[in-house]
């Protein structure tokens, strides 16, 4: 065990993991929606740090940009627009929580257990050998060009559909009016 602690990367890991774990717990237990969202930012930020530790820079920055830059802002907008109670709210959870906790616990046993049985004490031996962003870009546009193109359609569909669904409907009369305006 002392060997493990003698490895500086592990200290970094420990700190990041602790931050991630604590913020993740707060995400699911906080009684304040905004706090939850901000803790999610923290968890994701620390995850990005973890990715840097694993020398996956590109993914780390994508995570920061996409999540912290865009998704969380979206969330905060969502929270504001839906006027979710931003203050502490004890009614945030179902009662009793035990069945949910049980299910989550079983899930943890299964997911963590499979990792433990499969990889035991195998090590990440090439921690520092980062995959270059160049390779990722090349791969994305070579081997994974089809999913790359398809995912753009996923985003487009989500965008178009999301706007259509979320926007307030004008009454038919109003629509007619705007249309006439446009045509005029």
């Amino acid at each position: 065990m002392s060997d493990w602690f003698s490895e500086p990367a592990n200290w970094v890991f420990l700190v990041l993991a602790l931050v991630i774990a604590v913020s993740a717990v707060r995400v699911v237990t906080s009684t304040n929606v905004v706090h939850s969202a901000l803790f999610l930012v923290l968890a994701l930020g620390a995850t990005a740090g973890l990715f840097l530790l694993l020398s996956a820079e590109f993914v780390a920055w994508v995570l920061v940009l996409v999540y912290i830059g865009a998704v969380i802002v979206l969330f905060l907008f969502g929270i504001m627009i839906t006027r979710a109670p931003t203050g502490p709210n004890v009614e945030m959870d179902h009662r009793p929580r035990a069945p949910a906790a049980m299910a989550a616990f079983l899930m943890f046993i299964v997911t963590a257990g499979s990792g433990l049985t499969a990889f035991g004490d195998q090590e990440i031996t090439r921690l520092g050998d980062g995959t270059s962003t160049e390779l990722i870009g090349e791969q994305l546009l070579q081997r994974f060009v089809i999913p790359f193109e398809v995912v753009s359609f996923v985003l487009l569909a989500a965008l178009i559909g999301g706007i259509t669904l979320a926007r307030r409907d004008a009454s038919p009369a109003e629509e007619e009016a705007t249309e006439e305006e446009v045509q005029a």
């Binding site: 990367a9 999610l40 530790l53 694993l54 979710a84 990792g115 921690l127």
Partner: protein, 137 residues
């Protein structure tokens, strides 16, 4: 640029000989010294995130909170994928690319989810998922 670059070879800790690795079909991986960073520490963190996400999904009443929990679960997958990628380090960078796709898809999902939540909120002035049981049995 990697955050930590350690090149000090520590051969004695290497638990895998190349033969075993070949048997695993990972000929691309060149053992150059263990660093005692276990794969499992990442996987267990991933499992923890995933399970916490499950807990939040099951227990939160507000739909936005449920969505936040789902983001935790998807993030757990990213942790797994990136950790596996550094563990395997095969030339394709598949794990990282997979993670990028997961992030993108998750973003799309958040957009869709918030649109739906907004719609429901407008119609019912509440975003609590447990109040939605018009249809059952």
């Amino acid at each position: 640029m990697p955050l930590l670059r350690r090149r000090k070879p520590r051969k004695k800790r290497c638990r895998h000989d190349s033969k075993e690795l070949e048997a695993r079909g990972l000929e691309l991986r060149i053992p150059e010294g263990g660093e005692l960073v276990l794969l499992n520490q990442f996987l267990i963190l991933g499992a923890l995130l995933f399970s916490l996400g499950v807990y939040g999904l099951l227990v939160r009443r507000n739909a936005v909170m449920v969505l936040l929990s789902i983001e935790l679960m998807l993030n757990a997958v990213n942790v797994n994928l990136v950790a596996f990628e550094s563990f395997l380090r095969n030339a394709g960078a598949g794990g990282q690319i997979f993670a990028i796709f997961v992030i993108t898809v998750a973003a799309a999902e958040v957009g869709i989810g918030l649109a739906i939540i907004l719609l429901i909120f407008r119609n019912r002035t509440s975003a609590n998922v447990d109040e939605l049981d018009l249809m059952k049995w």
